[in-house]
Amino acid sequence: MSDTTLTADAADTATAPLLDVDHLTIKFGGVVALDDVTFDIKPGEILGLIGPNGAGKTTAFNVITGVYQATSGTITFDGTVLRKKKRYQITKLGIARTFQNIRLFPSMTALDNVLVGADAHSKVGILRAIFRTPYFRRTERESKEEARRLLKFVGVDGRADEFSTNLSYGDQRRLEIARALATKPKLICLDEPAAGFNPAEKQKLMQLIRDIRDAGNTVLLVEHDMKLVMGVCDRVVVLEFGKKIAEGTPAEIQNDPAVIAAYLGVEEEDVDDAS
């Protein structure tokens, strides 16, 4: 993991955002999924993206990771405009993601799943494989060490050789995070990582997210669980019907009348029910 370079980058560009979403609009036919949304993520921060169902959170995710193309507006990541970039090129630039509904490679082992991510930055060639060149052996060994380290980091190291489909639900979610981290991202996007977690697991997840940030990553978090979002995020962006309605620290968001009215419900006790 290139911790040192990341922190150096962060120091150099303390004010420049890592990801800059500028007047982003996406239409699917007549449906406007995102309407003129602007926000940015600064290096080393944990940004929460929240909103009721259908607010456009996952759509925003999919544009950032190259699954959809923006109708208008630009996304700039680390100085590069992400337009007409292939998904794997975006990964190589340094954006990784997990999926709302787990999408591991089911009949590959946990270790192999992470290795696929770890291979993202190594050259791959059939001749290298056949002749087992020194480069091939070195990168293969490094990838493997890195993959094992990441499995340990997220806490599924005991099940490295198990088939990912046989892992428990929580382990699968954590494995997805490890796989995303293996691509050495500058920005990691977590799509509802706490879905289906019990309170104890959520607590652990919050710590994991903080650890990921402390390891030099920037985190974009889409999550329904308010406790988790408010507990871990530095800043929160609120979407509703494809529009940004608020942005600020968790404390500001919790007291923002627009957010309370539109998203959290009129009474604060309804927070959990609303999600």
Partner: protein
């Protein structure tokens, strides 16, 4: 059964445990090497030993062995495309035909180049054909890909039939055999065995001249094909246990997720397609050199189906399974030739039974079996956690 299949497959598929090429290609434990060598020698000796029950009473045994080996090469190639990368290719016979026709055209029809020079050319041309066909077709997925490849297989055959420059409907005759060593009598002669019941007898009327590629004796062709098969397995194994194999699997498992994890999936699908074509071309080239005569009817679409059947019956994604599938598909109909037309009927029943009772194939791929095993393990652990009252 399980233990045997484990022996066949449980040899170093895990990444990076052994990085030396020979180690990876042969398996993890050195103790296995003498066993493997012994097994390979036994296979080489099959046409000489002519063993009872295994030998085919109604057709020439070395000839059957040659066909089986060609099918095995095809199965290994197609297993890369269908098994590893998950691309259902119903037009694989097109590559087989391409390899055969390049040999026919360059050794007989237009030029008279030696076979060993033409063989790499045939494989290279087939590789290019694979890339040319794959580049447009691999943009579609699943069933659509199957239909498009089926079409391409037919297009190759029909193009050959209608192009006089490629031999047309008449095909290509008098394709020369590979260069013999020590012709006309070879370096030495090996008499075959004949069996009376279980008593072996030396049949001095039936000798294989080492190494003369003639018309009557298919044994040298079998040996040549077997060497090719072994080289193919060796190289394929090195590729499979590398990150190339990993990326093929990831693409098969979830193409979108793979792409987002930084795998240029199109490139890897094309690589699988081209590698498969390359190996298919090799098989076709060997077939042409042995057959001496090829025409478009030698490469019908149902041959593609048979190839896919071999891979699926054996166990898609497991090279040994695919090879055993090829043996079944090529050998069984010849072995039971005395049943005449009923043999296809029995063959059909055998296929239905296999697919009904072992839908993953006779030897499902390594990871599929391991998954089952670890699922059992997990179930056992969960069971153990329940406190015993």
């Amino acid at each position: 059964m399980t233990r045997f299949s484990e022996f066949l497959t449980n040899t170093g598929d895990r990444i990076g445990d052994r990085v030396h090429p020979i180690g990876v290609a042969l398996g993890r434990k050195p103790i296995k090497i003498p066993l493997i060598v012994l097994g390979v020698l036994l296979v080489f000796a099959l046409p000489i030993l002519n063993p009872p029950f295994i030998s085919t009473p109604d057709s020439d045994f070395p000839n059957v062995l040659f066909t089986v080996t060609i099918y095995a090469i095809v199965a290994v190639g197609l297993n890369i495309v269908t098994g590893y990368a998950g691309l259902l290719d119903l037009g694989y016979v097109g590559f087989y035909a391409t390899g055969a026709y390049v040999v026919g055209l360059l050794t007989a029809y237009h030029f008279a180049w030696p076979f060993l020079l033409v063989l790499p050319i045939a494989m290279a041309v087939t590789l290019v054909t694979g890339v040319l066909l794959g580049a447009p077709t691999l943009r579609v997925r699943g069933d659509y890909l199957a239909i498009v490849t089926l079409g391409f297989g037919e297009i190759i055959r029909i193009t050959i039939r209608n192009t006089e420059w490629l031999g047309g409907t008449g095909g290509i005759k008098a394709i020369p055999a590979p260069q013999s060593v020590g012709a006309p009598d070879g370096l030495f002669a090996i008499p075959h065995l004949a069996w009376e019941g279980l008593t072996p007898l030396v049949n001095l009327n039936r000798e294989t001249k080492f190494l003369v590629f003639g018309v009557l004796d298919a044994t040298p062709y079998f040996w040549l094909a077997l060497v090719a098969l072994i080289v193919v397995i060796f190289v394929e194994r090195l590729v499979k246990t590398s990150r190339v194999g990993r990326m093929w699997e990831a693409t098969r498992e979830d193409e979108d997720a793979a792409e987002i994890m930084g795998v240029p999936t199109f490139k890897f699908k094309l690589l699988a397609f081209a590698s498969g074509a390359f190996i298919g071309g090799l098989a076709g080239a060997l077939f042409a050199a042995k057959a001496g005569y090829i025409n478009p009817i030698s490469f019908p679409a149902n041959l593609s189906m048979l190839f896919v059947a071999a891979v699926v019956i054996g166990g898609s994604g497991n090279r040994w399974g695919a090879i055993i599938g090829a043996v079944i598909v090529a050998y069984l109909p010849e072995r039971f030739r005395e049943l005449e037309d009923f043999r296809l009927w029995f063959f059909g029943i055998a296929l239905v039974l296999i697919v009904s009772f072992r839908p993953q194939g006779l030897f499902p791929n390594y990871s599929a079996r391991r998954a089952k095993r670890s699922a059992r393990q997990a179930a056992k652990e969960a069971h153990a956690e329940v406190p015993v009252v």
